[in-house]
């Protein structure tokens, strides 16, 4: 759980120290995993309450069977059952952003549709407060023959906005979508990127109370995605509740306060996004190899999450600063060594060892492995112990970081993957914004009307 374990005491310092744009972007919302913040937010009423929701799809052999069953009072069964969702309960508070992750077919979209009210749950119910804007599909409800502007009007009206109100927000929608003169051209001439920009811009600017987004940001380019992330932060401050589904785990980590991991129609994990995503990665990417783990005691490294087939095991992770002193506080630019020691329990022709540095909110800052560094570890035998050192200069901005290490198969699946195995902080004499210290040099030249002497 990178960054979510120990932030209570550190929260004020990191908030006070930031200034300007950095403060605006890295506002305290990002640290909502903290117990303290969570307790404060408890006072807010739940905007969405999902209560024991289950969704049963009835698979019919013929469509006519369905109408016979729908209209008959005695409900004779003419179908096979498929439970897309089973006993889902959670609540989302005002201004909270909830990310939903899970493999394909796990019921994410069905859940979103039920939250929107598009689908009826088979059992349970969803209680919502406020107007819902849904982005379930790219430009759903857009008429391709009409211009972007006309479609914005129609979409706004569908969302229940009076015409005058749409006229008021139209400039903002145009500005955010940034599609130039295309706003007055038929939507059928749009690229898919323009489509999503306009749809997203409309949904986000019609001041909904609840915004539901399903994979809609996947199409936009990096600039637009960045703008969306900032917009999410902004509407969160306005008290808009966001529920979204994404396969972009980085995005989920970045913007959600809480996440839910759905698997086969049930909630597999719920909580801080870092924690949930680690569970997700562990469950989904883990190779189920027939290898007996029972005989070995698990090593006692304090990982927030650990997965892998344990054909090899990380038995020690050490961090050394200048002159080889063991360190958990580093200076910006200090030469650093990360030492990963692992033991092999099975013969491995070509293993690799990797490290990843993340910020407290789980953003990947830097990662590499022996393969990328062109270091061949060669075949390892069962019983071998392998020590790998990574040397680098720690040009990171002053902040808290966590270290994730892994030993892997050549295809990237894990022997042993440890998230957040140790936390370290970087200090510096001067404050810089962001995560990297690119040691910039500031030079100024002044030009004035009068000739210089």
């Amino acid at each position: 759980m990178p960054g979510f374990t120990s932030c209570g005491g550190l929260l004020p310092t990191c908030c006070e120290k930031r200034a300007g744009e950095a403060a605006a972007r890295d506002s305290p919302q990002k640290h909502l995993g903290c117990v303290k913040m969570a307790a404060e937010r408890r006072n807010h009423p739940d905007v969405i309450a999902v209560h024991n929701v289950s969704k049963l799809y009835r698979l019919y052999d013929r469509p006519a069977d369905r109408i016979v069953e729908a209209l008959s009072w005695n409900r004779r069964r003419r179908h096979k059952d498929f439970w897309a969702l089973r006993d889902i309960s959670f609540a989302v508070e005002r201004g909270e952003t909830l990310g939903i992750v899970g493999p394909n077919g796990c019921g994410k979209s069905t859940l979103l549709q039920i939250i929107c009210g598009v689908l009826e749950p088979t059992a349970g119910r969803v209680v919502k407060q406020g107007r819902v804007a849904a982005l379930l599909e790219l430009g759903a409800g857009f008429n391709p023959e009409f211009t972007g502007r006309e479609n914005v009007y129609l979409n706004g009206e569908i969302l229940g906005l009076p015409r005058a109100e749409i006229e008021r927000v139209l400039p903002e929608i145009e500005r955010f979508a940034d599609i130039g003169e295309f706003i007055d051209r038929p939507v059928k001439t749009y690229s898919s990127g323009m489509y999503v920009r306009l749809a997203f811009s409309t949904a986000i600017n019609v001041s909904p109370d609840i915004l539901v987004v399903d994979e809609a940001l996947a199409v936009g380019d990096a600039v637009f995605a960045n703008r969306c992330v900032r917009k999410f932060e902004e509407i969160k401050k306005r008290g808009v509740t966001v529920v979204f589904v994404s396969h972009d785990l980085g995005l989920v980590k970045l913007i959600s306060d809480r996440a839910i991991f759905l698997l086969n129609g049930r909630i597999e994990a719920e909580g801080g996004p870092g924690h949930v995503i680690n569970r997700y990665i562990g469950v989904v990417l883990e190779r189920q190899k027939a290898f007996d783990l029972a005989e070995r005691p698990p090593s006692l490294l304090p990982a927030t999450h650990r997965h892998g087939d344990r054909m090899a095991e990380v038995i020690a992770v050490e961090l050394f600063g200048r002159e080889g002193r063991p360190a958990l506080v580093l200076e910006t630019g200090e030469p650093v060594t990360v030492r990963v020691t692992s033991r092999f329990y099975a013969d491995q022709p070509d293993p690799m060892v990797g490290i990843m540095i993340r910020t407290r909110i789980g953003m990947d800052v830097f990662g590499t492995n022996t393969k990328l560094e062109k270091l061949s570890l060669g075949p390892c035998r069962a019983g071998d112990t392998l020590e790998v050192d990574f040397h680098f200069n720690c040009w990171l901005a002053p902040q808290e970081y966590t270290l994730t290490v892994a030993t892997q198969h050549p295809d990237g699946s894990s022997h042993d993957w440890l998230d957040g195995v140790l936390a370290f902080s970087v200090v510096a004499e001067r404050y810089t914004a962001g995560v990297a210290n690119l040691h910039a040099r500031a030079v100024a030249r002044r030009f004035s009307e009068q000739p210089c002497r």
Partner: protein
Amino acid sequence: MIARFTGVRVDAAPAGRRIDVAAILRNESGESWKPEAGFYFSYQIFDPSSGTLLEDGRRTPLDCDVAPGGTASLRLSVPLPAQPGAYRIYVSPLQEHKAWFYQSGSPFLLIDARVENGAVRLCRKKIATLSRIRWETFLRSLWRAVVYPLLTLGRHGSLIRSMVRRDIAGRYRGSYAGLFWTVIHPLLMMVTYYFVFGIVLRTRFAGDDRPSSFVVYFLAGMLPWLAFSEAVGRSPSVILEHRTFVKKLVFPVEILPVNLAMAGLVSEAFGAVIFAAGMWYFGRPFHWTMLYLPVLIVPQLLFTLGLCWFLAALGVFFRDVAQIMGFLLTLWFFVTPICYPEASLPARWMWLFAQNPLYILVRSYRMIFLEAAAPNWRALGKLAVLSLAVFFAGHAWFYKLRRSFADLL
């Protein structure tokens, strides 16, 4: 499986979200309730508005065997969920893996409660049977069937208006003549029919021998038909065409058929322009009786709307409806005396043809526009009753089937 409830006590625990229930149950069935045979007391919590099950309660085991005629004391507490809202609780014995007693007709204890600000408020408790509850639900759905269509029209008025406007404007978008097609289309159709019936077959109306008589009589009959056939013809496929509205948008689907009926009326208005031009061209007088038009429009609209709702929902389940409707409408057009005089219908079957709502409408249009007469109130009354029935029944049908649209598309 019959249990008689007596001495019922229901208390809401003031602090917690809990309801305590106590009652004496008498076994009025032929078999004894044995704990080892899976007999329990329990409860279920439902959502009163949709009737969906929210929670299955914890089982409370029976203390001992209850022989037929014997009594048992029921004591259980129902913890209510934290989510605010209305809850309906059924308290009843059950036999595990077989059935709840209430499902097989036994009386049970029904409690309506609300959770507000984290506290429980009791609204109603009564001993009920499932058939009584079903009857209540049925009566309420009758009430809904009357109120909901009016709410639909009232609440979404402005959305309907702008969607109809867009529908008309979008229909010929991209074509050169654009909006003019709305006028050109009926005009060309009129010219075609005029050639076949007016010139080739020499159809004449009401003993009026002038060739212009065909034009004006035909146009007057065409007005209600234009509105009706356009709306009804498109209705079976309207939900399919708007599948993203159903599946991907938070959208009141029930207004889609309304849009069709309204767009039909707009077409009728364009037809009326041609009709007025024809009247003026042939030097026909305008009678004051045409002010009766709204009296005709209202039942016509209600009838069209009801039929549109019915067909729109049906079209989701049976895609064939759209194909059949094309043929049915052609048949309906020729059965209705629009391009020939009423007198040409076989007199022996006149009683049957006169039941056709479109016949009544066409006849009434001609009376008020061409014959300076008030419409036939008797026939119009019949039409009004039929229209109201179709209107409410159509909406109820649509409303009941609407829930499964998203699963089907």
